[in-house]
């Protein structure tokens, strides 16, 4: 169990500020996710913690002890790599024992700890096998066992599931989460997959261009994105530009896309351009009237089984996506008018960029 404090960490590659003055506090036993699009600096930050990328300025502390000057092999982190990095010239058991041997653990203890670790990742009995006899998912489990078995101060994951197929990915992320919780290890998890991040994290930091946009729990990140970037990156929200109207003490009307949206609270001074985030599931198909409504016209229907995604256009032609249940409005054809109801509290306004 380790708490990690990162202060004003910076790293540049030539003109690229890969990690730009980042400060973070990661708590004991937390699964903390670094989320962001490719190239935003997640890997660089993780590798700075592991000791593979030099720190330019700033500091990293584990439990109050500075570790950023230690060489990588003395930092006591357990890293799980995207491409598994299983030593092909060692058996599964030897792979798992590798870090224990480096720590000069007695041989008898190594055997029992390796067995237990393999059991934990549901690979009991696979010890004598050679890595090339294992599937991708099994290799990733070996990699996880190898990192767990040394009981590191911190577990580091760099997109550990991105080489697996979709089905295995969703299964494995649950396993990763359960193992981390069972062992009570602090973990930093890098991913660009927002669903994966939402599913398993205690807290998420959304990164962009080497800086932090927001740090929060998955629920708050999703429901209360603090910037337009976070809103757009998490879930395929509709971003609609508009002009704020006068606050009526309760709501603010925003003229947008040839119609008007009602947004909870005072958004901005009247006449200020704003950007509205309207989540597809915040819009509901309605027949009648009542509440806040907008009108749209159906353009295309994507039927996805349990749900469907409707592509529609707002009065001025702005495209908008709407989530509906699989059985809803099946008789509607492209061109049909839609009436969409929403809760003003579910619409977020950001200052226009």
């Amino acid at each position: 169990m380790t708490a990690i404090r990162i202060e004003n960490l910076t790293r540049t590659f030539g003109a690229v500020r890969a990690v730009d003055d980042i400060s973070l506090d990661i708590r004991h036993g937390e699964l903390f996710t670094l989320l962001g699009p490719s190239g935003c600096g997640k890997t660089t930050l993780l590798r700075m913690i592991a000791g593979f990328v030099d720190v330019e300025s700033g500091s990293i502390c584990f439990d109050g002890r500075r570790i950023d000057a230690l060489p990588a092999h003395r930092r006591d982190t357990g890293m799980v790599f995207q491409n598994y990095a299983i030593f092909p010239n060692h058996t599964v058991a030897e792979n798992v024992a590798y870090g224990l041997k480096a720590r000069k653990i007695p041989a008898a203890e190594i055997v029992s700890r390796v067995d237990k670790a393999l059991e934990r990742v549901r690979l009991a009995g696979y010890g004598p096998r050679s890595p090339h006899q294992l599937s991708g998912g099994q290799l990733q489990r070996v990699a996880i066992a190898r990192a767990l078995v040394i009981e590191p101060a911190v577990l580091l994951f760099d997109e550990p599931l991105s080489n697996l197929d979709a089905q295995l990915r969703t299964e494995m992320r649950v396993e990763v989460r359960q193992l981390q919780q069972a062992l009570g290890l602090t973990a930093i998890y890098v991913t660009h997959d927002q669903e994966e991040a939402l599913a398993i994290s205690d807290r998420i930091a959304v990164l962009r261009h080497g800086t932090i946009e927001q740090v929060d729990t998955p629920e708050r990140i999703y429901r209360m994105p603090q910037t337009a970037f976070v809103a757009e990156f998490l879930g395929s929200t509709n971003m609609v530009p508009g002009i704020a109207g006068a606050f009526d003490g309760h709501n603010t009307p925003v003229a947008a896309a040839g119609t008007e949206f009602t947004v909870r609270g005072e958004v901005a001074a009247p006449g200020t351009p704003v950007l509205l985030s309207v989540r597809p599931e915040a819009l509901q198909l309605r027949d009648g009237s009542g509440g806040s409504l907008v009108h749209a016209r159906l353009a295309l229907r994507e039927f996805l089984g349990p749900v469907q995604r409707l592509h529609a256009t707002l009065p001025d032609g702005t495209p908008i996506r709407i989530s509906a249940l699989g059985g809803q409005a099946l008789d509607l054809l492209p061109g049909a008018p839609l009436t969409l109801a929403y809760d003003p509290a579910q619409i977020t306004a950001y200052p226009a960029p």
Binding site: F52, P71, H73, G78, M79, Y98, G99
Partner: protein, 545 residues
């Protein structure tokens, strides 16, 4: 990690500075000195420019290399295309055989030509017997033939990789978009393969220009740069080290320019053969396929035939220079009756050199591949310099450098080993860095992350992972060191005569039988290890080029 890389880089640079750059600098220096007095002069160069003989020597060498390049491309490109795109029977075997001429000693091939078509050659005498005179193969024609037949694999390997790197979908896409087959070849295939052709062709040019053994066997009295440099430096009567230096500088200038152009065309391009789906074999009529098969096999067999002929002839009895049709092991008896020493020397020196080369080359290759820095870039560059320097010139430099002064090496075995190591180092560096490129860097990071220090990770994880590739490199260095002639002939001392030296002197003298036996021994010494590990070799060859 960084410290490890810095130490390796600095150690390697010091080594190369002492045993490569310093000797070369001395050769350059000698070319500007008045022989005897040591005053500065441009006279050596002026003498070359004024001498018809030396201009002819430069002209002959350049012409020969250019012709060999053209012919090697002329047979190498079609062969590469057939290997890549036509379903030729025995393709895998053909591919292995096609790479053999690169490592078999080319002057043996030249000597085979002498045995077959020379003044007293088997074919010459037979044809003369029935009244058909044939032209002389000495000089330009023979030398160009031998260079073409021994160097064409330099064209085949990269061009083949180029043809295979064209992903099938790329070609299909072009066809799908309405391109006719010739149009697709012109717009998709050629642009990909052209740099490979240039790169391979220039390599042929460089090798042909530098080569000492082939003109030494076939030039007779015609002037050739590589031979003249040797004669000027080591000749008994007309020695003129200063002139040898000037000619050396000119030769290095030519090869260096060619090498720079070659590197430029190769650039950052990697002709990876693992295109996701290799292009489909061409649908051909049986007639065309048969033609392609005959041509492909014909080229490869023709290039190996001289070696087979030498093996055969070594088993026949010679009366003086004249061959008889009686079988016997007499030639081998003559070869070994003198002493086993030359053979033993060859094996010993090659073994020491091979191990030393890989021990030095592997860490350098690792650093060059893994730790890009200005220093390792410099090392990468200096490490390639031996490519541009012929063995004879390096040997001359080593003699000037270590004949006197604080470190005297001439006359012993060490200077031979040093010459071999320096000459083969580019190969060792290239092949080990190619192996490292195939190793996932996160394997080493995983090891370090689990608590093993970087230097221990290199020794206990990286080296074992590189091992199987390094063995291939080791064997190739061993083979080429065992059949090295151009530096050996300058550097050997009485106790350290090698098989190649025995063969050279036997050819110079009248020991045709002895020469044939020595040549046969060289073929066996090189071919046997090759066959033992030929699968590995195939991979290496393409990476080296």
């Amino acid at each position: 990690m960084k410290r490890f890389a810095t130490i390796v880089t600095l150690a390697a640079l010091v080594l190369l500075a002492v045993f490569l750059l310093y000797p070369l600098a001395l050769v350059l220096d000698a070319s500007f000195r008045i022989d005897g007095t040591g005053g500065l002069t441009l006279g050596n160069y002026a003498a070359i420019v004024k001498s018809r003989y030396y201009l002819g020597s430069i002209g002959n060498s350049l012409l020969c290399a250019a012709l060999a390049t053209v012919f090697a491309c002329a047979i190498g490109i079609p062969l590469a295309f057939c290997l890549a795109r036509i379903d030729i029977p025995g393709r895998a075997l053909l591919l292995t055989l096609a790479s053999l001429p690169l490592v078999l000693p080319s002057f043996v091939s030249a000597y085979a030509l002498v045995l077959l078509f020379g003044h007293a050659g088997v074919v010459t005498t037979a044809l003369r017997g029935i009244g058909i005179p044939i032209g002389s193969i000495y000089g330009l024609p023979g030398i160009v033939i031998v260079f073409t037949l021994t160097l064409y694999p330099y064209v085949v390997m990269p061009v083949l990789a180029g043809f295979q790197a064209v992903d099938a979908s790329m070609e299909e896409a072009a066809r799908n978009l309405g391109g006719s087959r010739p149009y697709v070849i012109r717009t998709v295939l050629l642009p990909i393969v052209m740099p490979a052709i240039l790169a391979g062709g220039l390599l042929v040019f460089i090798e042909a220009l530098e080569n000492f053994g082939v003109p030494a066997v076939l030039a007779e009295d015609r002037p050739f740069l590589a031979v003249d440099i040797f004669k000027l430096f080591a000749g008994e009567s007309d020695a003129n080290p200063a002139a040898a230096g000037a000619l050396s500088v000119l030769l290095i200038a030519c090869t260096a320019i060619a090498l720079l152009v070659q590197r430029h065309y190769l650039g950052k391009r990697r002709f990876s053969t693992n295109a996701r789906s290799a292009p489909a074999k061409l649908p051909l009529t049986p007639g065309l396929r048969l033609t392609a098969t005959i041509v492909s096999w014909g080229i490869v067999i023709a290039s190996l035939l001289p070696f087979a002929a030498v093996l055969m002839i070594s088993l026949l009895r010679f009366r003086g220079p004249v061959l008889t049709w009686e079988f016997g092991l007499g030639n081998y008896a003559t070869l070994l009756s003198g002493s086993y020493r030359p053979l033993l020397n060859t094996l010993t020196l090659a073994s020491i050199a091979a191990v030393a080369t890989m021990l030095i080359g592997a860490p350098i290759g690792y650093v060059v591949a893994r730790h890009r820095s200005r220093l390792s870039g410099l090392l990468d560059f200096v490490g390639m310099v031996p490519f541009a320097v012929s063995g004879t010139i390096l040997a001359i430099g080593l003699i000037i450098a270590f004949n006197s002064g604080p470190l005297i090496l001439t006359g012993g075995w060490l200077i031979l080993v040093i010459a071999y190591v320096v000459r083969k180092l580019p190969f060792a560096i290239r092949s080990s860095s190619a192996i490292v490129h195939q190793l996932d860097p996160s394997l080493e990071e995983a090891s370090i992350n689990l608590g093993v220090s970087p230097s221990k990770t290199f020794a206990t994880l990286t080296v074992p992972l590189m091992a199987s590739g390094l063995v291939g490199g080791l064997v190739l260095v061993w083979i080429t060191a065992a059949s090295e002639l151009s530096a050996t002939i300058v550097l050997y001392a009485s106790g350290w005569v090698t098989t190649t030296v025995v063969m050279y002197h036997a050819i110079e003298g009248t020991g045709a039988g002895l020469a044939a036996a020595a040549a046969a021994v060289l073929i066996l010494v090189t071919a046997i290890p090759l066959l033992l590990i030929n699968r590995r070799i195939n991979k290496q060859e393409s990476t080296v080029i």
